[in-house]
Amino acid sequence: MSDTTGIFIDVEISAEAAGDAELARRLEEVCPVDIYKDEGGRVGVVRENLDECVLCELCVEAAPPGAVKVKKLYDGTTLER
């Protein structure tokens, strides 16, 4: 799942992780700038908040390896594990 509304930041959730209800709850809880939303057990992305990402990597750490990627659109690098 990808969202390209952000000018500077995009996040990518793997198809498998997107339907993980526990992960959806956890991501909503950890992101300090409300980029994730628990949409009835699915991981939702709040598009208008993408550019507020502070690159804290809390979402990446809270998710299983490869499940969440934070992409910096301005230099092409990605925060992932």
Binding site: I7, F8, V33, D51, E52, V54, K72, Y74, D75
Partner: protein, 401 residues
């Protein structure tokens, strides 16, 4: 924030400083009643938050209650400096033997309050200080220690006032200093402080200004005076730019932005801030021959939306083609977040960031990330190796004169 004279009177009165028997009224008929109650000649004074009342016809003398009513009716309709009066103050025309001046002002350079006293009151104290410096006593004092009589005595004595007058003036000055300290004032002034024919002293006029940020601490005082939260008491009506920036700031708790454009008529938009940086940078732009379109402050780690909002408001001001994004050194405000904000502002307004951002100079947290963002949009990043002076000069150079 500023207080009306009738409020300032109440403040000094509550502090135990003698005042004349006065009345604040909002209609002419009430003025007549107060004047009749006072008995004898009265002075009718417009209650506006601006100077120049006397010249504008906002202060008139009346010999009878009827005359007081007529003057009040005129004054209540009189606009002074763009302000309509909140009401009028009806005051007895006191039999004054001598006028004195007393004030406490915040000295921003010394970062301490200063007590000022003169035995030549009723006129502009700056004029007295220039023409009769020996008639002005002054001393700084600590805001942390309670003010004592001896400090007031030393200041009064500098002007040569002695004896009974000295003894009577000292407690008034001490109370004024405590009003200043307890009320978080930036100015507490009595001018004139009058010695009446019977030898007593009264405050004939008072002027008080309080630190805006102290409003939450001074809730009781403000409530006692009937001043609500909605009364901003700004010295001027906020412009649409100022209102828009304040609304953006209020809508988001992250960081702080401020924007002022009253009195600014230039073409270089300023998105500036950090630890006194705004004043320094505005001065630097002017000294480099530039004309700022506004003043602003940004800091405290604002969101991208807030930085973007401020930059957009600045860019939408008439005549502004370019903005200078400059700060002193930032610790918690992230360079990359401000960079995102200002670039987003340009893009959302259909402007090329490389052409629109005349200079970007913010040394501090996350500057490497900030530099990467700017580089993607063709904006040069300046760190601390570029002085604020040089950054201002570079911005001015890019503006067509």
């Amino acid at each position: 924030m500023r207080f009306y004279e009738f409020e300032a009177r109440q403040i000094v009165e509550r502090a135990g400083i003698p005042v004349t028997k006065y009345g604040f009224v909002t209609d002419a008929a009430e003025a007549r009643k107060v004047a009749a109650d006072i008995g004898g000649p009265t002075v009718i004074k417009s209650q506006v938050l601006t100077g120049g009342r006397m010249k504008a016809g906002g202060v008139k003398f009346a010999d009878t209650p009827e005359e007081a009513e007529a003057h009040a009716a005129d004054i209540l309709e009189l606009e002074i400096g763009g302000h309509m009066p909140k009401g009028v103050l009806v005051d007895p025309k006191a039999q004054v033997k001598q006028e004195y001046y007393a004030s406490v002002v915040w000295d921003g350079t010394e970062k301490r309050p200063m007590l000022l006293f003169s035995d030549m009151g009723g006129i502009d104290i700056e004029e007295v200080a220039e023409t009769h410096p020996d008639h002005v006593g002054r001393a700084h004092f600590s805001n942390l220690i309670p003010f004592s009589d001896y400090q007031a005595k030393q200041v009064v004595a500098q002007t040569g006032v002695t004896g009974r007058q000295l003894t009577r003036i000292v407690p008034i000055l001490t109370r004024l200093a405590r009003v200043f300290q307890d009320g978080d004032m930036t100015l507490a002034e009595i001018n004139p402080l009058a010695e009446l024919e019977d030898g007593s002293f009264v405050a004939l006029d008072a002027h008080m200004e309080m630190e805006n940020e102290a409003r939450p601490r001074q809730k009781k005082l403000l409530a006692d005076l009937g001043i609500g939260d909605e009364e901003t008491r700004e010295g001027h009506e906020p412009t649409p730019f100022e209102e828009a920036v304040a609304a953006i700031d209020a809508a988001d708790h992250r960081g702080v932005i401020q924007g002022k454009d009253t009195g600014f008529h230039g073409n270089l938009g300023l998105v500036i801030g950090a630890g006194g940086g705004s004043l320094t940078l505005t001065d630097a732009v002017r000294s480099q021959g530039g004309k700022p379109a506004n003043y602003s402050e940004i800091g405290g780690n604002p969101s991208v939306a807030k930085a973007c909002g401020l930059a957009k408001e600045v860019l939408q001001k008439d005549g502004v083609e370019k903005i200078a994004v400059m700060m002193s050194i930032v610790s918690n405000t992230r360079v990359d977040i401000v960079a995102r904000g200002v670039i987003k502002a340009c893009l959302e307004l259909g402007k090329d960031p490389a052409e629109t951002i005349a200079v970007f100079r913010i040394p501090g947290a996350w500057e490497e990330e900030g530099a990467k963002i700017l580089s993607k949009y063709g904006v040069e990043f300046n760190d601390r190796t570029t002085s604020m002076w040089d950054a201002a000069g570079e911005a001015v150079e890019k503006i067509p004169s």
